[in-house]
Symmetry: C2
Subunit: 273 residues, 2 copies
């Protein structure tokens, strides 16, 4: 038990993936990857767990993550929702800032704030908010700031000049933890499945959802996606309350299997919200 | 009728947004914007139409677009699906390439191809694939290539060294055209709506979908999203076949209105696929 748990996250250091992973594994050794697929493919040889983004409240579902989990045969064993709080970080004061460095999405998410508070600032785009913080730390000039998380500011020794500068209050990312096994029952669980219906006709999804409705199972997410194989064919991603070992959920799944062309349980895990 | 139609797209020149807009408006004047919100807010004062991405087969729904359309009160009047075909573009031959410049997503989407064909190449991340093509054109060196679209290569005078290098065959982006009005009936239409149910209990979505199922209306997309107001409250985005002026669709909508807390028709428009 001396050996540290290794957890794969998207780099660089102090990324939102690492923030999420630290909530689940405070003392683990973090291994940084460039892409979500590489991170998931590293389980179980290089890391025991991978913590990867699965949806964002502004940018939607990360299908790259769902595809990689489905292909790998790995299971979701935990989830963690992290609010995305953008901060203006650097060395100087608000008044002296002439240039802001950040990820294009972060710059877009703080557009109204920048327009109001630093209308003359030059914007420079880089590939991540934590890289922006790192660059500002290296430049060490009071006229250059980054938009990043509070954690990235701390890691790179920067001051938080203004906190919470994003235009929308509803910016959060849901991360999942992927491993070789899912989680045992806790009584407050969620299950994620993916399935395709056997026929493509009006009402077939309605029939599938009826299996959950008539057993009083609450859905927490539904999403359709065109199948890769045929135009007009769809696959569905469903999250619902309950564990795959609950009697009611077992019944839902086995009824659903009668009308689906394929069905895969991505995992049962404790609910984070 | 001498004056050109102005269409807002995400810049820079030769972006995938411009490619989509050109399919809908071959001779329009394109006005470039930095963010989706700015592009949509420019309608109708600065541009007659905005063409913006609404979902990608790998990266999911662009909620920024759905939010901006919903807030603006504008309507979706057309859709266009554009396959994302990544090319290695530049001046030299495959053998001599030492550095590849592109958007982080494009580099990630071509990861396996790069690993196999240019394992030693240095990767440089920039904020768009068309900017990458532009930078390579300026550098004018046979050892530096970009990953971009064929169109961006053409615009910036680059050679397509290898076409179709993305790892997944199923990479396409759906764009919508936004304006002050939606489209008249063509007989082959689609309608997009957003709604929230009045109650949050198991089965309420199932009842809502029953209105479509019992009238034989085919759904083409469904997605749930946590409401901004309350945890556990959801809003739903639905695309289905038919026009809001079709008798059957009118019935669906008015039945749905009885069980929804709010419902908004985002527009009816001809189906692209």
């Amino acid at each position: 038990m001396d050996e540290k748990i290794r957890v794969g996250v998207l780099g660089p250091e102090a990324s939102f993936s690492e923030i999420a992973a630290r909530k689940l594994f405070p003392r683990a050794e973090m291994i940084y990857f460039e892409t979500i697929s590489e991170c998931i493919e590293a389980v179980p040889e290089r890391v025991e767990y991978a913590v990867v983004p699965i949806e964002n409240s502004l940018h939607g579902t990360v299908f790259e993550t769902l595809d990689a989990i489905t292909e790998s045969g790995l299971k979701i064993c935990a989830e963690k929702v992290i609010p995305v709080i953008h901060c203006l970080v650097g060395f100087g004061k608000l008044e002296g800032i002439e240039k802001i460095i950040s990820h294009p999405q972060a710059l877009a998410q703080c557009r109204k704030w920048i327009r109001k508070n630093l209308p003359g600032a030059k914007l420079e785009k880089v590939s991540s908010t934590s890289l922006a913080a790192k660059l500002v730390a290296e430049l060490s000039s009071p006229s250059v700031a980054a938009i990043s998380s509070r954690e990235a500011a701390r890691v790179f020794g920067l001051k938080v000049i203004v906190e919470n500068i994003q235009d929308s209050e509803n910016n959060a990312t849901r991360f999942v933890c992927v491993s070789t096994k899912d989680s045992p029952r806790t009584g407050r669980d969620k299950t994620s499945i993916v399935f395709a219906c056997r026929e493509n006709r009006p009402g077939v999804l309605w029939e599938a959802l009826g299996e959950f409705a008539k057993r009083g199972v609450n859905l927490t997410k539904i999403e359709s996606r065109p199948s890769k194989k045929m135009l007009g064919e769809y696959i569905f991603y469903l999250d619902f309350e309950g564990h795959r070992e609950d009697e009611k959920i077992k019944e839902c799944i086995s009824s659903l299997e009668k009308i689906t062309a394929f069905l895969r349980i991505l995992g049962s895990y404790p609910r984070d919200f």
